[in-house]
C-alpha cells in the first residue's frame, strides 16, 4: 500500500478516535456503576433508542419513495428538489427546530389546523422528538438510497414490466431488493444521526425527562453542573450505538 494513502488514513483514524480517548481517560470509572444505575439515565437511553428507531422507520416510509422519484421520476426541477433535500444538512439544527415550531407549533399554520381538528398539539411530545430527528436525518437516507438506485440498470425494471409486473410490483419486487444494501446503509446513517440529534429536538420538542429528554439533551444539561455525569452519559450513548451498528453490519452489510 502506498504511504501517500496509508499515512493520511492513519491520521484520519487518530483524528476520529482521539476525542473518544479523551472521554475514556476522563471518565469517572470508580463511580461508573452507581451512575449508570440512575433511572434517569436508562429513561433517557430508552427514549433515545425508541425515538431514533421510529424516526428511521418514518424516514424509510417517506424517504425511499422520494429517493425513487429523484433517481427515476420525470419530475420538473429535479435538481432543485435534490438541492432542497439537503437543506436539513446545512441548516443549523436549532434553526431547523425553530422552523418546525413555526409550521407545526401551536400557532403555526399546520400545527393550528392539527390542534383544531384533533386537539393534539405536537411540540413537547415524544412524537415531536421523532419529527425533529426525522427532519434532520431524512437527507442521509434519501441521498444513500438515491445513490444506490442510480447504480441499478433500469432495464431490469423493463424486464420485469415485460413479464407483466405493475410499476408498484416492479418497485417492491425488483428495484427495492436490488438496492437493499443501499437502503440498509442509509437507514443506519439515518438512525445514527437521529440518535445523536440535539438542536432540533430541544428546540422543537423541549426537554422533559421520560417524554422528550433524549440522551444528547441529558448530556448537554449534565455538562452545566456535572461534567463527569455528562461523560458517563456520552459513553453510554456511544457504546450502545456502536454496539447496534456493529451488530447490524455483521448481519446485513457483511455480504456487501
Amino acid at each position: 500500500m502506498p504511504w501517500v494513502l496509508t499515512v493520511p488514513a492513519a491520521l484520519a483514524l487518530v483524528f476520529l478516535l482521539l476525542p473518544l480517548a479523551g472521554l475514556l481517560v476522563r471518565a469517572p470509572w470508580s463511580t461508573m456503576g452507581e451512575r449508570l444505575a440512575e433511572p434517569r439515565v436508562l429513561e433517557a437511553l430508552r427514549l433515545s433508542l425508541v425515538t431514533a428507531t421510529l424516526a428511521t422507520a418514518f424516514c424509510l416510509l417517506l424517504g425511499v419513495p422520494l429517493a425513487w422519484v429523484l433517481a427515476r421520476g420525470d419530475v420538473p426541477g429535479r435538481r432543485l428538489v435534490r438541492a432542497l433535500v439537503t437543506v436539513p444538512l446545512v441548516l443549523p439544527p436549532v434553526v431547523g427546530g425553530v422552523a418546525l415550531l413555526l409550521v407545526l407549533g401551536r400557532n403555526g399554520p399546520v400545527g393550528r389546523l392539527l390542534y383544531e381538528v384533533s386537539g393534539f398539539s405536537l411540540p413537547f411530545t415524544t412524537a415531536a422528538v421523532v419529527v425533529a430527528e426525522a427532519f434532520v436525518a431524512l437527507p442521509f437516507l434519501v441521498i444513500s438510497v438515491e445513490g444506490a438506485l442510480k447504480t441499478v440498470d433500469p432495464r431490469f425494471e423493463e424486464a420485469a414490466a415485460t413479464l407483466g409486473a405493475s410499476r408498484l410490483r416492479v418497485f417492491t419486487r425488483v428495484t427495492l431488493p436490488m438496492v437493499a444494501p443501499g437502503v440498509v446503509a442509509g437507514a443506519v446513517l439515518c438512525w445514527a444521526r437521529a440518535l445523536g440529534e440535539f438542536g432540533a429536538t430541544i428546540t422543537f420538542a423541549g426537554n422533559f425527562p421520560g417524554r422528550t429528554q433524549t440522551m444528547p439533551l441529558a448530556v448537554y444539561l449534565a455538562l452545566e453542573t456535572d461534567p463527569e455525569a455528562a461523560i458517563v452519559l456520552s459513553l453510554v450513548l456511544l457504546a450502545v450505538s456502536v454496539g447496534v451498528l456493529a451488530g447490524l453490519r455483521g448481519r446485513w452489510a457483511g455480504a456487501s
Binding site: 440498470d153 432495464r155 431490469f156 423493463e158 424486464a159 420485469a160 414490466a161 415485460t162 413479464l163 407483466g164 409486473a165 405493475s166 410499476r167 410490483r169 419486487r173 425488483v174 431488493p177 436490488m178 437493499a180
Partner: protein, 347 residues
C-alpha cells in the same frame, strides 16, 4: 393450443436524428428475424413491439386487437434480452416464477410452473442457483424459460446469442431452434448475425436506416441479395444494371449472364467464381476484364483479393495462386467469370 396468433403492425418511432418506419406481420408459429447493421433500428422495433419505447405513429394488432396503447406489463409478450437481465437477487426458479406470479399465480403455483419450464430447458437441477452462479449458456436458457413461462403470444428475442462464446453458441442455438419450433405464438428475433438468422428464422426482414430493404425466406434472401449490406452478409458480389437478354449492362462493363431478362436487374456471383490470370487468357468465352488489386486478405482457407477497376469485386483464390501470380496491392491482373456462375434477377 392451436391458437391462431397473427401480429399485424406498422412501427413508427420518430427521433430527432432517426426515424423508424417498418411494417411487420408475423403469422402464428412463424419466427421472423430482424436483420440489419448496427443502428438500423432493429432493437428499437423490438422495444416498440414490447411497449418499452413509445411509438410516434403506426399500430400493433394482435389477433386483430390493438395493443399499441397498452403499457408493456399488459401486453401478452415475453422477451429475452441480450444480456438476459435475470434478477440477481432471485434464484433461477424464482426468476422464472416471477412472470406467472405477476399474472396472478399463487406462490406454489408459480413455482410449479417455473419448475416445469426449467425442466424443459434442461436446468431442473439449477433451480436454486442465483444468476451469478450460472454459466452464460445456462443463464440464456433461464431467460428463455422466464419469457416463455408467461405463455406469451408474442415472443421477442434481442440478440439472444450475442453474449455467448462461439463454442456455447452452437449448442444454445440448436436448443433455441427446438424451443422456437415448439412455440405456437409469433416470434420476432433481432440479430446482426446472418447465420443465426438463417438457422433460427422462417423469414428474414432486413432493416437498414429505419426501413425494410428486403424480406423473404432465408434461402431466397441469401440467393438474391438486394443491398450491398445483405450481399456482404451472404458473401456475394452484387451489382445493379440493365438487362437485354443474356447481356447485362453495368456501369463501365457489360456481363454475359446465364439468365435472360429485360430491364433493371441485380447480378450476383460468389467470389469463388472469379478466376485470376497474370496475362490475358486466350480463346475463352468467359466475361473478361483487367483489374487493379486493391487489397489481399486471408479468408478462411483461401485468400480474398479485392479488385478495383471497371468492376469492384472480390475474388477467392488459393494461397499457392497468390505466390504464383505475384498478387500484391497496386498490381494488374486479368479477371474471368463464367456466365453460368452468375445469377441475374429483376431489381
Amino acid at each position: 393450443m392451436g391458437r391462431r396468433v397473427v401480429i399485424e403492425s406498422r412501427l413508427v418511432v420518430g427521433r430527432p436524428a432517426f426515424r423508424l418506419d417498418i411494417g411487420l406481420d408475423v403469422a402464428a408459429g412463424e419466427v421472423v428475424a430482424l436483420l440489419g447493421p448496427n443502428g438500423a433500428g432493429k432493437t428499437t422495433a423490438l422495444r416498440a413491439l414490447a411497449g418499452l419505447v413509445p411509438m410516434t405513429g403506426g399500430h400493433i394488432r394482435l389477433d386483430g386487437e390493438a395493443i399499441h396503447d397498452l403499457p408493456a406489463e399488459r401486453r401478452p409478450i415475453g422477451m429475452v434480452f441480450q444480456d438476459y437481465l435475470l434478477f440477481p437477487h432471485l434464484s433461477a426458479l424464482d426468476n422464472v416464477a416471477f412472470g406467472p406470479r405477476c399474472h396472478g399465480a399463487s406462490r406454489k403455483e408459480g413455482r410449479r410452473i417455473a419448475r416445469e419450464w426449467l425442466e424443459r430447458v434442461g436446468l431442473a437441477e439449477h433451480a436454486s442457483a442465483r444468476p451469478g452462479e450460472l454459466s452464460g449458456g445456462q443463464a440464456q436458457r433461464v431467460a428463455l424459460a422466464r419469457a416463455l413461462a408467461v405463455r406469451p403470444r408474442l415472443l421477442l428475442l434481442d440478440e439472444p446469442l450475442a453474449a455467448l462464446d462461439a463454442h456455447t453458441r452452437l449448442d444454445v442455438r440448436a436448443r433455441l431452434r427446438r424451443h422456437l419450433d415448439d412455440f405456437d405464438g409469433a416470434a420476432v428475433l433481432v440479430t446482426h448475425d446472418p447465420l443465426e438468422a438463417m438457422v433460427l428464422a422462417d423469414r428474414l426482414v432486413v432493416v437498414e436506416g429505419g426501413v425494410v430493404v428486403q424480406q423473404g425466406p432465408p434461402s431466397a434472401v441469401a440467393r438474391h441479395p438486394r443491398t450491398g449490406y445483405v450481399a456482404r452478409l451472404v458473401g456475394l458480389n452484387l451489382y445493379r444494371g440493365v438487362a437485354d437478354g443474356h447481356v447485362v449492362r453495368l456501369e463501365g462493363i457489360t456481363l454475359n449472364t446465364a439468365d435472360a431478362h429485360a430491364g433493371p436487374v441485380f447480378v450476383a456471383f460468389p467470389p469463388s467464381a472469379v478466376a485470376l490470370y497474370r496475362h490475358r487468357p486466350d480463346g475463352t468465352p468467359r466475361n473478361l476484364w483487367e483489374a487493379t488489386i486493391g487489397g489481399v486478405e486471408r479468408h478462411g482457407d483461401s485468400v480474398r483479393v479485392l479488385l478495383t477497376g471497371p468492376l469492384d469485386a472480390s475474388a477467392d483464390v488459393t494461397s499457392a495462386a497468390v505466390a504464383e501470380l505475384d498478387l500484391r496491392p497496386g498490381g494488374r491482373v486479368w479477371a474471368a467469370l463464367k456466365a453460368t456462375e452468375t445469377h441475374a434477377y429483376p431489381a
